[in-house]
């Protein structure tokens, strides 16, 4: 991992861990979305967010080969 300018983007990879491993942050029912309790749609929403963050990290290191 380079310490160069885009290197900070690799820290983005830690965000999903914070968002998903702090379970008390999301272990409740309301607000529900289309009848789906918060607990479920919150975690499902992390799928595209985590994928997006990983894509940003990829763009910052892809030239390293």
């Amino acid at each position: 991992m380079k310490a160069s300018a885009p290197g900070w983007k690799l820290w983005l990879l830690l965000i999903p861990y914070a968002g998903l491993l702090c379970v008390p942050l999301y272990n409740f029912r309301e607000p529900a979305l289309f009848g789906i309790p918060f607990f479920y749609w919150y975690q499902l929403a992390w799928v595209p967010i985590a994928a997006g963050l990983t894509w940003l990290a990829y763009r910052s290191v892809r030239d390293e080969g």
Binding site: P16, V23, F34, G35, Y40, Q43, P48, A50, T54, Y58
Partner: protein, 488 residues
């Protein structure tokens, strides 16, 4: 049980289709020869982004997942959903670690994690520990895929062991002849079918059951009536949920079958791109998990939670579509089972056979030994399922997760820093392996341990606890002056 002919016909059609594909795969991407372990066991390390996406997706999200995750959600509720955070946070780890591992393997022609460990530390003992752990953790995993096939065969009304043995004979023979190319090619069919099935289920089932609100309400009522489980976690389940997700994520790519998919990629960027693209399967898994609650809303009468998905499809869909869904699950078992047997065979060939029995083996000989080992491994799994109680495979698979996690320090740490020495890592592995097994044993083969914390207690995943012990012991042994351990 009545056999639904439409369902059976669709099922048999797709099984025949993938049988033909499995044999044709030997000619796919035309290798000069398959008589080389790199070609047979890693597909020549030429799989680009899309092939890797289908292969790793088809291999990591197994048929057993499609059966067992909804079954757990059906039985206990929110707790069973831990598979979702697990399969999200696994990918940043893959992104950070696997390109480095791939590079080391590519540069040195390594085929297994144990090869990488031997190359890094020059320790045959540590190599053997990693290889043996990989093989014994994988065997029960293959057996679980058989349980997946057996579940859908039962739902089709096919009883007895003959259909199961026939399905596995097909798998064994095409893996033998085509190597990793067979599951890679079949994964295209399997994954496409699973996507169709799940999207159809998620769009159509809620309208038949009165919407998601009604589905969650039905599940909530069922748990309250039962007095156990719930659609939210109890306070004491929260740390169990988080540590299970983290521990499983760290363990997932230590397994030989997932690593085989990684090492077969074409480049580091193939792996990085896949870390961003594979979460599409996680979304699918989250939706599959919700099928467990749909089972409550549909008021299914089932004897085992494992029957919830097959029963749901049989109840709510026409026979031909149920047959399509069952074929997707059945084929979904063959892809990971093939890759698992290849990964285990590679480990045995490179790190046991070549290391101890036949050091002069050339690549052609290696490929031959690996092909035969893959047959033996699958036969072992089949015999275990036919002759031993199913619970035995389930317990072993659970322990397998604890065990494979103990290889992480040896496999991963050396990629980033050189402080640990082989004897220390071996001592750590032993402590984690033995300690984790003992803890699981005293907890009645459950993966969770309650720890006192002040006057409360928190419940944590034993695999993660054992990993902490593993690293601690390794650090302490590593601090012992070199003189005393230099001959260890």
């Amino acid at each position: 049980m009545k056999v639904d002919m439409a369902a059976l016909a669709v099922f048999v059609f797709f099984f025949l289709l993938i049988t033909v594909m499995g044999f044709a795969a030997a000619r796919w991407q035309r290798p000069k020869t398959l008589a080389q372990i790199d070609e047979w066991g890693l597909g020549g390390r030429r799989f680009g982004t899309w092939i890797t996406w289908f292969l790793v997706g088809g291999d990591f999200y197994t048929a057993y997942t499609v059966i067992a995750v909804p079954a757990l959600v059906y039985a206990v509720g929110a707790y069973g959903f831990f598979a979702l955070p697990y399969t999200i946070i696994v990918y940043p780890f893959v992104f950070a670690v696997m390109p480095k591992l791939w590079q080391v393997a590519k540069d040195n022609g390594y085929v297994t994690a144990a090869d990488v460990v031997h190359g890094r530390y020059g320790s045959r003992a540590l190599e053997l520990a990693v290889a043996a752990t990989g093989v014994i953790a994988t065997m029960p995993y293959i057996a679980l895929q058989l349980i997946g096939i057996a579940t859908v065969l039962k739902a089709l009304g096919l009883s007895g062991e003959v259909p199961l043995i026939a399905a596995f004979a097909v798998l064994a023979v095409f893996t033998y002849s085509s190597g990793l190319r067979a599951p890679a090619l079949i994964a295209f069919v399997k994954d496409t079918m699973i996507y169709i099935v799940v999207i159809a289920a998620v769009l159509l089932v809620p309208s038949k059951l009165g919407g998601y609100g009604a589905i969650f309400a039905a599940a909530d009522q069922a748990f309250q009536a039962k007095g156990a489980g719930g659609i939210l976690l109890s306070a004491s389940q929260e740390t169990a949920y988080a540590t299970l997700a983290l521990g499983s994520a760290l363990a997932a790519f230590m397994y030989p079958h997932t690593l085989t998919g990684i090492l077969a990629s074409q480049s580091k960027n193939t792996i990085r791109k896949n870390a961003a693209l594979l979460p599409a399967y996680t979304l699918l898994l989250g939706l599959i998990a919700l099928l467990g609650y749909m089972g409550h809303a549909a008021h299914l009468q089932i004897t085992s939670p494992n029957d919830v998905v097959p029963a749901l499809f049989k109840t709510l869909f026409p026979g031909w579509f149920a047959g399509f869904a069952f074929a997707a699950i059945g084929i979904g078992a063959l892809v990971p089972a093939a890759v698992m047997s290849i990964g285990a065979a590679n480990l045995f060939t490179r790190n046991v056979w070549k290391a101890y029995i036949d050091p002069g083996a050339d690549p052609a000989r290696e490929a031959q030994v690996a092909k035969i080992t893959s047959l033996v491994v699958k036969l072992g799994a089949l015999l275990a399922i036919v002759f031993l109680p199913t619970q035995f495979a389930l317990d072993l698979q659970l322990l397998g997760g604890v065990w494979i996690l103990q290889t992480l320090p040896a496999v991963v740490f050396g990629l980033f820093f050189g402080w640990f020495r082989a004897p220390a890592l071996l001592a750590g592995w032993l402590a984690g392996f033995a300690g984790g097994t003992a803890l699981a044993w005293v907890n009645g083969l459950k993966p969770l341990q309650a720890l006192p914390l002040g006057h409360a207690s928190v419940t944590v995943y034993i695999g993660l606890l054992a990993l902490a012990v593993n690293i601690l012991v390794a650090a302490i042994v590593n601090l012992v002056p070199l003189k005393r351990v230099s001959h260890a």
